[in-house]
Structures are given as C-alpha cells and as structure tokens.
Symmetry: C2
Subunit: 337 residues, 2 copies
C-alpha cells in the first residue's frame, strides 16, 4: 500500500515491478547516440499512414504491443492502460491503443506524461487496484510542429533555445510481484508558472517545475542528490538543464550537477543532429526511460534513479493569447535490486 | 483498499467520502430546470475575461474554490487534484487550478472527465495514496464551439441530434472518513468504436460506450439495474439515451429504462431552451452530479446511484480526417448511508 510522506511523495511498499518496457523511434532518433537501444526504428516518418496523427498512433500502438510481447502478456491480462500525448484531445493515444480493448484512463501531462503515467500505474498496482497496468505515451515531430508551431512546409527558423519534438513512443508494463526493476516511490508535482511566454523556449519554462519537484521531494524525504545514481529530467534540453542546475543551487542550495542527465540531450547528438537545445515531446523521455534507463537498471549499472518528467501545459491558443506557460514535473523513483 | 472484481470494477472497502461538492453554471444553464441547485450562476458568459478560454478557467476555479470552502478545506490540505476538460491541452483546467498550488494530475476523458476524476480520486483516497483529493472539470459553450465546430459569429445551423455544450463546472472534495455520501465502487471503461463519424451526433457515438460499461459492470458484479435507484449517464442527450436503452435491451437483454436518467436532458428544458438533443460537455455532468445528485444522496432521496460519464475522444483534426469517433464511459457508484 502507498505510504504518504509530505503531501506529494508516496512510498510504494509493495514495490511494483516493471515487467517489461519498450521504446520505438523515428529515423532521426535512431541515428542518435541511443539508436541501438530502441526496440524498433521506423525509417518512414509516415509509417505508411496518410496523416502525421495516424503515424503517431501507429508508433504508440507499436510501443505498447512490443512492451506487452516482452512481458509475455496479452492485452486481456492488463487491468488498466494509462496514457496520453501532446495532440489535441490526445488522439495519438486514443487511436493508438483502442484496438487493445484494455480498460483505459486518459492522462494529460504534456511532456511529463511518461512520468505521470508511470506514477499513476505504480500507485494503482501497489494498492492492488490494478494487478497489471500499462503506462505509455508518444509524440511525433510532424504532428507536433503542425499543431503547435507552423506547417512543416513553411520551413520556419528555429531559435537556438528551441527543442526538437521526438518521433518516439514508450510503454511499460507494471505488475505486482518480484523483479529486477521496481518503482520505489513517486512524487506528484504542482503547477509552476515563472512567467515565461516564449513557446520556443520550453526548457526555460519547464526548469522551474523540475526544480520545484526535486526540491519538494528532497525536502520532504530528507534525501540528498547523492542518494541517487541518476537524476534524470525529461526533457529540458541543454538550455533548460543549465537553468535547472542554477535554480536548484541558487534558490535551494542543492547541487545535482554530478547526478543530472536529461533525456532531451541524451536522445540526440546536439553537435551533429541540428536539434538546437535537444529533444522534447512525450515520446522522448518515454522512449529513453523505457529502453536505456530500464536496461541500465536491469543490468545493475544503475541502482536508484529519480526520473523527473517535465511538461509545459500550454496550447497554441493560450500562446497566441499571450498567456504564460504553466509547467509541471512529476517524479518517479526506479530502483534495481 | 480497493478490491478488484473482474478487471474493470473496484470495490472501495474504505468508502471514500464526498466531503463537499460544488457546481457552477452560466446563464442559460441557470435558467434550466436545475437552476436553483447550483452554487453560482454567472450571468456574464465572459466572466469579465477577454477570452472564452479564460472564462472557462474562471468557472473551473470557482467550482473548486466553492467545493473547498464548503468542505472547510484550504488548498494546502489537499494532496492531489485530478482534473481535465475539453480544450486543447486542457488549458481550461491548467489556468483554472494552478493558483491553488495543489499537486496535480491532469486527466483527459472528454465529457467522461467528471466520472474519470471521481473514480481516480476515490481509488487513491481509498488506498491511502491521498488523504484528501479534489476531482473537477469544466466546459464552456463558446470555447467548445470555437474549437470543435465553427466560430460563434458564423452562426452555423445545428441539426436536431446535436447537443449543447454546457457552460458549467463541477468539483468534489473526497477524503477518508465517515460521511453521508460515499463512493462505493468504480468501473473503468474500455474505448469503443461503433464507426460513427458525425461530430454533430455525439449521443449516437457515445451510447455504445455507456452500454459497454453498464453491461460489463452488471455482468462482472452480478448486479441488476434494480440494484440502483438511478443509472445516470452524462451526457447522451435525448437521442443517445434512447439508443442506450435500445442497445442494452437488444444486445444484452438489460432493461435500464425504469432507472435511467441523463445529465444532458436534466440540465436543460428540451422543449423550451432550444438545445436540440440536450446538454453535453464535461461541465454538464460535472455540475449536475456535484449539486443535484449529491444533494439527493445526502438527503436520502437516493440511496445508490451508478453514474456513467461518457466521453467522445475525437478532435477537430481527427473529425476532418474522416476518422470515426472512439468513445469511453467510466462508472462511479455513489451511495448514501
């Protein structure tokens, strides 16, 4: 059963297990430093579909199908699927997962969705509400650009602080029992708003949310950064990561520099792949956590990881109305035995 | 702790209590048959804001603030707020609730959001994951029309089967302990797709989802419709309600006619208020359940209610691409002592 510490952190006393997980990506992501980690690389950005949205649904479906297959589970054995994405009304998810017929709870956490879905799934499995749950998410560069910025054909210039929405999806199968990789605890974030209005600078908008969740968690639990092998944000990019480290040091006296990494700077080679500040999008941390991070935990290379998924809760409408970009970050602690 | 029956239904053995709830509406909803039930009626559809989206955030905020006030809770006493709405990236919710500073889990369930948020909040409180949780949602006629159909100024004709998105919000404060109105059990729905593509006929699209959740629940629990005083859908409207009754009778041999009511036909006077098939939108069932239904339970007029929130998981993009309208329905059983 979950045990609360403070009002944000829950210790999962039954330690739900990540039975299996999968990450699938597009061509550009497959050419990045983590290319060999992924379960599938789709060279065709359309995945044979006639719209970017349908292509995103197809990668979402693929990640869930592969995770289920690796966990040797049929969809009928899953009690609840918790998922969401960046598209309006989360259609990437809906059309991606509906054919599985699994009871479904839709989430909206923008790019924090992998952390939010993992956290929710873990709490539900820990309490026995679900015997087996799937957490998943997706993003697609083309569907996101079209929706949030401008048509691809327009060829808009991208400022150096901009991030590159990953074409990727991640899925994890959680269940009660024993296993190599477990969810030890979770920390639900609060919405923060630092007044950033530049929709091309998500890293700056999201860094304060990550700082708040990390500071809240460490304060509430009495932990220090050294209690983790890795404090992994997803996805602040290079600009946001620098801001996070500075914010935590200056405002909270916390130094996470030795432990910190960011899924957005791991997914791409920032010098070679022309992605400016790094990767972003729900699928970025989704695919990185569900492959590289879970693998390193499973192999014992990592022992205890604080994964902090960050999401910018703006819409194209709120941005055009000049509104600020409220953000949120959720923390999930993964451990290996 | 939640106890599973089948893979969709959870019995909440600690019976989380609805400490208080609130519903707020716009002028048209305030003139309807339930006008006197609501905690606040806003005569100005703008609520003094300069956009419909900001007006929706204001009604969302108002419902949460009133529910907290009635429960005699400060935001600091709430462990988690679970909420969502219909707007792209759920900005109605984000900008509505961010100032409370409550840890936040965003949901997307379209018009099923009140049921989804109540179900999630109840399960989390039941397991001790949250000591106190808020479930809330909102919709606004003008922000929804603008986003899903056409600008209000266009004055598009509405076919008779169309529903009228309510300008309304509902919020409920759940906690452990004793009280008059409790959440007894919940049933998470599966996504259904009957191939409906007419975005002006949500009732027809959503009726099969409601039928599936009701049939799944009754089959898994061995209950019959007569075990409830009220089987309340939200929101199928007149067209969808008739289809639901027919579908359940024909495909499952279940007759819910004596127990059935629908939030969309309760909120408005269908003969007088020019709303065609009835109300819809997250706020419709949100406001109706959080006022009228909870009051009747509190006063003992109702003993056991199966509230089935229905959501159409389309977007304007998927509709324009000719996609079908996948739908979902979640069930929450409310009881009075």
């Amino acid at each position: 059963m979950p045990k609360r510490q403070g009002r944000q952190t829950l210790w999962l006393t039954n330690r739900p297990v990540i039975a299996a997980s999968a990450g699938v990506v597009g061509k550009k992501e497959g050419e990045g430093p983590l290319g060999r980690e992924f379960d599938k690389v789709f060279d065709d950005a359309h995945l044979g579909k006639d719209s970017w949205e349908k292509a995103e649904s197809a990668i979402h479906r693929s990640a869930v199908a592969l995770a289920l297959q690796k966990a040797k589970k049929s969809p009928d054995e899953v009690d609840l699927l918790l998922a969401g994405d960046l598209l309006n009304q989360c259609i990437g998810t809906t059309f991606g997962v509906m054919d599985f017929g699994i009871p479904f709870a839709g989430l909206y956490g923008a790019c924090s969705t992998m952390a939010l879905s993992l956290a929710m799934a873990a709490v539900l499995v820990d309490s026995g509400a679900a015997g087996c749950a799937v957490a998943s998410t997706s993003s697609h560069f083309c569907s996101a650009e079209k929706q949030f910025r401008s048509p691809l054909e327009y060829g808009g210039q991208r400022p150096p602080q901009a991030q590159w929405t990953a074409t990727a999806a991640g899925a994890a199968v959680l269940e009660a029992g024993r296993g190599d990789v477990t969810v030890e605890s979770v920390t639900f974030g609060r919405i923060t708003d630092y007044g950033v209005t530049d929709a091309n600078n998500m890293g700056a908008a999201m860094a304060p949310a990550a700082a708040a969740t990390i500071a809240d968690r460490l304060m509430q639990t009495g932990e220090s950064p050294a209690d983790y092998d890795l404090i992994l944000t997803g996805d602040l990019g290079a600009v946001g990561s620098a801001l996070l480290i500075e914010l935590l040091a200056r405002e909270h006296g916390i130094n996470i520099k030795p432990q910190h990494a960011d899924c957005g700077t791991m997914l791409f080679d920032l010098d070679e792949q022309d992605v400016n500040s790094g990767g972003s999008g729900c699928g970025c941390s989704g695919a990185v956590v569900c492959t590289n991070v879970v693998r390193r935990l499973r192999q014992g290379e990592l022992k205890r990881v604080l994964f902090v998924g960050t999401g910018a809760l703006l819409s194209a409408v709120s941005a055009r109305q000049g509104a600020t970009i409220p953000c949120i970050a959720h923390g999930v602690v993964l451990t290996s035995k």
